[in-house]
């Protein structure tokens, strides 16, 4: 089976910090900026 390639994986490889990876993942997933802010703040709370 052919290996799945993805730009998301590429940038996750390039970025070292977890929160940077998370931000890019959310952006690649086409989330709206407000939604991204909410997700990031909620994850910080927990």
């Amino acid at each position: 089976m052919e290996e799945e390639s993805s730009i998301k994986d590429l940038f996750e490889t390039l970025l070292k910090e977890d929160n940077e990876k998370k931000i890019i993942r959310l952006i690649v997933d086409d989330k709206e900026p407000e939604e991204i802010v909410e997700i990031l703040l909620n994850s910080k709370e927990h």
């Binding site: 390039l14 890019i24 690649v28 900026p33 991204i36």
Partner: protein, 703 residues
């Protein structure tokens, strides 16, 4: 299912020709291979589909293809209208693009689903759909173009980070202007602080104003009376001199005699002594606090009589010595005073520190600069101002008394003895000389009179303006403070008035600033109290952290990664690349390998693990190094097209490949396989491969 229809009207000068699809069927399967001779309409079909799906504005389309799309709609001799419909496998989604008017440029793109119909703008289309339209002319070069996808993505994500950053900034601004309990509490504290400062400021102004009134009342009263008396005294002296001058007839005398030379010296010295005597009299009035009865003796001394008697009043020397002794005692007492010692210490300290003011030093334990510390010391020393002034006046009186004694001794020891020896030879001529000089003295006294008159009028005006308070009233209002001012000279009192006025002006300016600040705080408080709290009120710190992280991330995508990928595209690496750039290149090369996946080369299939675009080498899983230039053209095209289809996002793909002439069935098969895989997964809406052929032939590639 793909359905289409179009009409092209072309003006050929002598006639207008119409072109419609007549060779290629208007309905075909979603995945198909079309071959046909030139002018059979196969490229026109692909161009119209691309045009209908915002291909003209798609900067990923090859410039040669863009030109073809432009010629369809941008020529004056040609008009076009069309309808394209692409329905997915189960009919749940349909994309319709229409240009219904030959003469209007409008193209409408719609998406029809079970939820209804919605128009798709270019941005909406590009967000949800991915139009891939390519002509792989030069496969080895075009493989490089895969990297354009990454470059585009970097720019796209960099922009998204920028938008996210703006959103965070906006939220922070909203929080700042919303009802923020912490901010309200801070503002309340600030408001109370300003209130307190204002209250202190008002009290200071009130206190200083009161003090100014006291000093003004006292000064104007004192010098109004003092100059009134002085005026009378000078006027009396002038009158006396005139009376005596009239009685005596002016006579000539022998100016060459030694006696008159000495007399002239004595006259000038006595005149100088008179001026010192006057000054000492004023100073003694304010400086002397004990044994004041000597002042009565002092005031009766007539220095000019010495010119006739050739000796000074015997009380002069006694008074001088007495005053010097008493003043020394007074000074010693003042020096022993704690307040005086403190003032001396502060002033000595200020003098030392002034020499080090230019150095940027901080006083240990105080966290203050030298200049700040000097200011503090000056304020502290200021409290002992009165005692310092008293000592200064005593020192000055002592110095003037010494001067007076020196002049007296000079006459007593060297001038008067000669005059006494010569006098018997002169007879009555001395009184003549005195008369001759009376006019000169009257003139000098008139000058003094004019000066006193001016000062008298000056103080009279000021005193009247204050309502001419009587002495008792001034003393009772001034209380203890007045006793300090008694020892001040006229200049010292005038300086005090000036200093108080300046201080009141400064405090008033400070008060205005405080009032403005208080109003601003109050307005801001009112505004905030009307607002509702923000949902992220308590997460300002986290938002600021996020903002700073986004700044770094944006710069990484828009600056660092952009420069790295440009070097890969230009195949021009910097000499000393950083570890970060090395990692980046490595990640890109592995990513490209994943995009290509398995590929065929000389009858064998390989799996790419790294595509080194700088050196043009594909590294395979079984450690083979295949140079791109050695790859069969068809195989290279196949690898490239497969790469294009390996998209990473969720967008649905419409893929069209034209002029794949160099690819044989073996090279094309992986493409069809990929088409089917994506189509079955619901990700591919349409996949069309077009090639030149002898006859028109449309073959479904769904099974």
């Amino acid at each position: 299912m793909i359905e289409y229809d179009y009409l092209i009207e072309r003006d050929e000068g002598n006639e207008v020709k119409e072109f419609r699809p007549d060779k290629i069927p208007k309905k075909m399967e979603n995945l198909c291979y079309i071959e046909g001779p030139n002018s059979s309409g196969k490229s026109t079909l692909l161009n119209i589909i691309a045009l209908g799906l915002y291909g003209l504005k798609n900067n990923r389309l090859h410039p040669a293809l863009q030109d073809k799309l432009k010629s369809l709609v941008g020529s004056n001799h040609q008009k076009l209208k069309f309808t394209i419909k692409i329905k997915n496998k189960n009919g749940s989604l349909e994309i319709v693009s229409e240009k219904l008017d030959l003469n209007k440029p409008d193209i409408i793109v719609k998406e029809i689903t079970s939820n209804g119909e919605r128009k798709l703008s270019k941005e909406m289309f590009e967000r949800d759909y991915n139009l891939i339209y390519d002509i792989p002319h030069d496969p080895t070069q075009r493989l490089n173009h895969l990297i354009d996808d990454i470059k585009d993505a970097q720019i796209r994500y960099g922009n998204s980070i920028g938008r996210l950053k703006e959103t965070v900034r906006r939220i922070l601004a909203e929080i700042d202007s919303s009802r923020n309990p912490k901010r309200i509490s801070e503002l309340n504290t600030q408001y109370n602080d300003k209130e307190n400062e204002l209250s202190i400021c008002n009290k200071t102004i009130e206190k200083q104003q009161l003090q100014l009134n006291i000093v003004e009342d006292y000064t104007y009263f004192r010098f109004y009376n003092e100059y009134k008396i002085k005026l009378n005294q000078v006027q009396g002296k002038i009158d006396n001199l005139r009376k005596n001058a009239v009685k005596t007839e002016k006579k000539t005398h022998n100016q060459n005699s030694e006696y008159y030379t000495n007399l002239e010296i004595a006259r000038r010295t006595v005149q100088e002594m008179q001026s010192i005597y006057n000054k000492v009299s004023d100073l003694l009035n304010i400086s002397l606090t004990k044994d004041k009865h000597y002042l009565n003796i002092w005031q009766k001394i007539d220095l000019k009589r010495a010119l006739e008697e050739l000796q000074f009043d015997e009380n002069l020397e006694e008074c001088i010595l007495h005053f010097k002794r008493v003043l020394r005692e007074q000074e010693d007492e003042l020096k022993e005073d704690e307040s005086s010692k403190e003032a001396d210490f502060f002033n000595a300290l200020i003098e030392v520190l002034e020499s080090y003011k230019r150095f940027n030093l901080t006083i240990p334990g105080m966290e203050k600069s030298i200049s700040e510390f000097i200011n503090d010391l000056k304020v502290a020393a200021e409290k002992h101002d009165t005692i310092i002034k008293k000592r200064k006046n005593i020192e000055e009186t002592d110095a003037e008394l010494a001067k007076l004694k020196r002049e007296m001794d000079k006459l007593n020891t060297s001038v008067f003895p000669d005059m006494i020896r010569l006098k018997p030879l002169l007879g009555t001529k001395m009184s003549d000389y005195i008369t001759e000089n009376a006019e000169q003295e009257i003139s000098s006294l008139n000058n003094q009179l004019s000066e006193f008159q001016n000062k008298y009028e000056y103080y009279e005006n000021l005193y009247s303006a204050k309502g001419k308070p009587i002495e008792k009233e001034i003393m009772s209002k001034g209380g203890k403070k007045i006793r300090d001012y008694i020892s001040y000279t006229e200049e010292q009192l005038k300086d005090k008035i000036k200093e108080l006025r300046n201080s009141i002006n400064d405090e008033t300016a400070n008060k205005r600033t405080l009032e403005h600040s208080r109003i601003s705080i109050s307005t801001e408080l009112e505004r905030l109290k009307d607002k509702k709290p923000h949902r992220y009120q308590n997460q300002v710190e986290a938002l600021n952290e996020l903002l700073s992280k986004l700044n770094l991330l944006e710069s990484k995508f828009k600056i660092d990664y952009d420069s790295y990928i440009k070097e890969i595209i230009d195949k021009n690496l910097s000499k000393n690349i950083t570890k970060e750039q090395e990692n980046y290149n490595d990640a890109i090369f592995h990513f490209l390998a994943k995009k290509i996946g398995r590929f065929a080369h000389i009858n064998k299939e390989y799996k790419a693990i790294k595509v080194d675009l700088i050196n043009g080498i594909i590294h395979t899983e079984d450690k083979k190094r295949i140079h791109l230039q050695d790859m069969g053209t068809g195989q290279s095209q196949s690898a490239y097209l497969k790469g294009l289809l390996n998209t990473s996002d969720k967008r649905k793909v419409i893929a069209m490949f034209d002029e794949v002439a160099m690819m044989d069935n073996k090279s094309l098969e992986p493409i069809y396989k990929k088409f089917r895989e994506l189509y079955e997964g619901g990700k591919l809406l349409a996949g069309i491969v077009v090639q030149r052929g002898e006859e028109v032939n449309v073959i479904s590639k769904i099974k």
